[in-house]
């Protein structure tokens, strides 16, 4: 029995680990990107399935790994079903727009269509989550998500509207509320999920970031507002003569508006770039630490420095890649135009150079996305898993199975709507 125990080590209760090698993930991603290019994107269902299999089966919790049981053909089927639903819908929207447009109702039609599509997008995300959970098996028992998707979609639309109106200040409560909704409807066998993260906690941690990123713009608006002679402005607007802009300019001075705006926007953009990893670290730690399944709770020890290291590594990869592609591309264009020569007429040269430009663009876009997926997304997943610690994990060994696999419609809709399913 000693050899058997060495081969099949007993689980160490609450530890989480990630077993996958980055080199293997690089191979998977590069091969997938090449096939995506060749098949004009139709390979994405198989690619996504391979990626999930890799990530799931290398994620180890308490000595046992997850398993992804979804099939690429299911995703393809879901996508085709989504097309079958969306085509009549798009036709109806276009038809209504054509009938109503050019009347006064133009803006209303656009707003309603937008709301319908956002709603459908949230619906799709909820259903896609259900598909993924029911295809996730752990210790021979699957995860599940119940509850109708429409209430979630309405709820999400409402919360996101509030978050946008409050310039992101309500984002923590929106996240907390939506996570609570999702986790309340999530289960692992007969173990019910819940979410304990509080919006106020995330708000307090995120407030400094908000103040540095959104603050300058808000401040600039108030500063400009204080300088404007509002009475004069309303008189001018009522008269309808000249532009109110002319008066604004006369009042404050164009260069001053420009100066304040540029400083505010510049500060905001620099702060956003510098603080994005911090934001990621804060939200990930908050989210993972809030997850509960019955009495099992998770604690995340993601450190801010680790996340910054991931993004710095991304810069170290992406800059040389871009330089390399530009040099190779430049040599190709130069050699190509030298070979064709000038005597073949301008049309051919133009055709060749636009084909090369297009090819370069696709290579850059796919290459950059591959680098991002490996160096950032994969690394964040690995970090999130390795820094997580479960308490009360012994309960995971006595879960009764329940639930059945769901359809892939949500995945297909999310894909067709471009809301980032696959």
């Amino acid at each position: 029995m000693t050899t058997a125990e060495a081969l099949n080590p007993a689980p160490s209760a609450g530890a989480a680990n990630f077993l996958g090698k980055e080199a293997a993930y690089w191979r998977l991603r590069i091969k997938g990107a090449a096939l995506l290019m060749v098949t004009l994107g139709l390979y994405r269902f198989w690619f996504a399935t391979d990626v999930r299999r890799f990530l799931w089966s290398n994620t180890e919790i308490g000595g046992e790994t997850l398993e992804y049981t979804g099939l690429a053909t299911e995703l393809l089927g879901g996508f085709l079903l989504a097309i079958a639903i969306l085509v009549p819908l798009y036709t109806a929207i276009a038809g209504t727009a054509l009938a109503l447009a050019f009347d006064k109702a133009e803006e209303a039609t656009a707003a309603i269509s937008f709301a319908v599509l956002v709603l459908l997008g949230q619906f799709a995300l909820y259903r896609a989550r259900r598909y993924r959970l029911t295809r996730t098996v752990f210790r021979g028992v699957r995860f599940d998500q119940h509850g109708a998707a429409w209430p979630y979609a309405l709820y999400a639309l409402l919360w996101w509207s509030i978050a946008v109106i409050t310039l992101g200040l309500a984002y923590p409560w929106a996240q907390a509320s939506l996570q609570r909704f999702k986790m309340r409807h999530t289960c692992y066998g007969d173990l019910l999920g819940s979410f304990e993260g509080s919006g106020s906690a995330l708000f307090l941690r995120g407030l400094p970031i908000w103040l540095l990123v959104v603050g300058p713009i808000v401040f600039a608006f108030f500063a400009l507002g204080a300088m404007i002679d509002w009475d004069a402005l309303s008189r001018v607007t009522a008269d309808g003569e000249n532009g109110p802009l002319d008066l604004l300019a006369g009042n404050i001075g164009f260069h001053r508006i420009f100066y304040i705006g540029a400083v505010a926007l510049g500060t905001s953009i620099i702060a956003a770039v510098l603080l994005y990893p911090l934001f990621q670290a804060v939200t990930w730690r908050w989210w993972i630490s809030g997850l509960r399944f019955g009495d099992v709770s998770v604690n995340s020890r993601i450190s801010i420095a680790q996340v910054y290291r991931i993004y710095l590594r991304f810069i170290l990869y992406i800059v040389p890649f871009m330089l390399l592609v530009m040099i190779v591309g430049g040599v190709c264009v130069f050699a190509g135009s030298a070979m064709i020569g000038s005597n073949h007429g301008s049309a051919l040269v133009q055709l060749v150079s636009s084909a090369v430009t297009l090819g370069l663009y696709v290579v850059i876009a796919l290459g950059a996305s591959t680098i991002y997926q490996v160096v950032v997304t994969f690394a964040m997943w690995r970090l999130a898993v390795q820094s997580a610690e479960l308490s009360g994990a012994t309960a995971l060994a006595a879960v009764r199975a329940s639930g059945l696999p769901s359809s892939a419609l949500g995945e297909g809709l999310a894909d067709a709507l471009g809301v980032g399913g696959i």
Binding site: L19, T65, G140, L358, A368
Partner: protein, 407 residues
């Protein structure tokens, strides 16, 4: 994720083909029964027909035919059973046992050959689907658009035309002339307008359109004309200047009337929608795919427009013949427009026509269609010289007469 057999253990694995009763191979594994998440450390016996899973007593027996390989980390063979709603799992780290099972159960696709074959098939089918999509875009979309056009009510086309008209007008009116942008209303321009109306009426009578044409000459120096859905035609001042005979102008007008009669504005809208659907929805939802889609659409759109232009040329020839004008005049003015861009150099003129095979081919097609017979000019000399003066009044600045109307 095949578990390769170490060479020294390979010989202990029996060859199933040559032996009637293969040797039983035993090893340790982890078993989950699918009803509960409890982990069972078990012993597995790989026999002739299947696996026996025991821990003090027999827990389960699986035949080789129902075994399926499930995704697992490297170094682990994870097995499940096909057609099961219960997710019972067997996880084997013992390389000898795993190798034996992979050898005996054909469904496990040892080495992944079947999976690779499937992937190659997927790639081949995707290529075929891509090719079929492109062929549909080239041939199917224009046919479909032609079939749908009769069902689009004329009123909808009118509305579409009115909406486009506002945008086109402000886009064309780069100098913000406002109402003065159109020629024919200024001092001394009225006879020109009357002559234009005479010419348009002749063409309109021949064309028998379901609605009235609205032809306007506008103060733009380009030798160009544009027709909108619903019968609005803009003729640039530059075209009047370039035309040497009334029939040349009439030929261009007849070409534009062709666009109106064939409802090409609506056709463009339908074709664009079709392309967006084919390439936007079905394909290209990968990063970088957007550029491919835009390039494909640009190429296809120009192929559509070439077909639309030659149809309008043919219409022009027919209409000009019907009303007794010179059908070849359109070709003459096309050649002059292209040549004028090259300046006065004779040699360059020839060369520029060679460099624009589209225009050269169009002129050849027009000449081939047109019957050669003597014709009378469509306007008399007095009317023609009046028409040449339709934009003679200096444009009054629109912004001073009617604020805001120019935008």
């Amino acid at each position: 994720m095949t578990i390769a057999l170490p060479p020294e253990t390979a010989k202990t694995v029996p060859d199933t083909a040559s032996l009637a009763a293969p040797e039983i191979v035993r090893g340790a594994a982890v078993y989950f029964d699918g009803t509960c998440s409890a982990r069972n450390d078990v012993a597995v016996e790989a026999g002739a027909a299947g696996l026996r899973i025991t821990a003090h007593r027999v827990l389960d027996e699986w035949s080789y035919a129902e075994l399926r390989r499930m995704s697992s980390p490297e170094g682990v063979l994870r097995l499940g059973r096909s057609g099961e709603t219960l997710l019972a799992r067997l996880e084997i780290r013992d390389t000898v046992l795993a190798g034996t099972i992979e050898e005996r159960a054909e469904t496990l696709d040892r080495g992944g050959a079947a999976e690779r074959r499937l992937r190659r098939k997927v790639v081949a089918l995707s290529l075929a689907a891509g090719a079929s999509l492109i062929l549909t875009a080239i041939f199917g979309v224009p046919v479909l658009a032609s079939r749908i056009i009769p069902f689009v009510p004329l009123a909808a086309e009118r509305k579409l035309g009115d909406a486009i008209d506002k945008q086109i007008r402000s886009a064309l009116d780069t100098q913000h002339l406002g109402p003065a942008f159109a020629c024919g209303a200024g001092t001394g321009e009225a006879p020109g307008r009357a002559a234009l109306d005479t010419l348009v009426r002749k063409l309109e009578t021949g064309a028998a359109l379901p609605f009235r044409l609205n032809v306007e000459v506008v103060r733009r120096s380009e030798p160009n004309a544009v027709a909108l859905p619903g019968g609005h035609v803009y003729v640039d001042e530059g075209l009047i200047a370039t035309a040497q005979t009334p029939d040349e102008l009439a030929g261009v007008l007849a070409h534009e009337i062709g666009h109106v009669a064939y409802r090409d504005g609506t056709r463009t809208v339908l074709q664009t929608a079709g392309l967006s659907f084919l390439f936007g929805m079905m394909l290209g939802d990968f990063i970088g795919g957007g550029a491919v889609v835009i390039a494909a659409r640009t190429v296809l759109k120009s192929s559509y427009s070439r077909r639309v232009e030659s149809a309008a040329d043919a219409y022009s020839v027919g209409l000009m013949e019907d009303i007794g004008g010179d059908p070849r005049a359109l070709g003459n003015i096309l050649a002059r427009i292209v040549a004028d861009k090259a300046g006065d150099d004779k040699d360059r003129r020839m060369k520029i026509l060679l460099d624009h095979p589209e225009t050269r081919d169009r002129i050849a097609a027009i000449d081939a269609l047109a019957a050669s017979r003597p014709t009378m000019p469509l306007l008399n000399a007095a009317d023609w010289s009046a028409l040449k003066q339709i934009c003679s009044a200096p444009p009054a600045k629109g912004a001073t007469t009617a604020p805001g109307d120019g935008r």
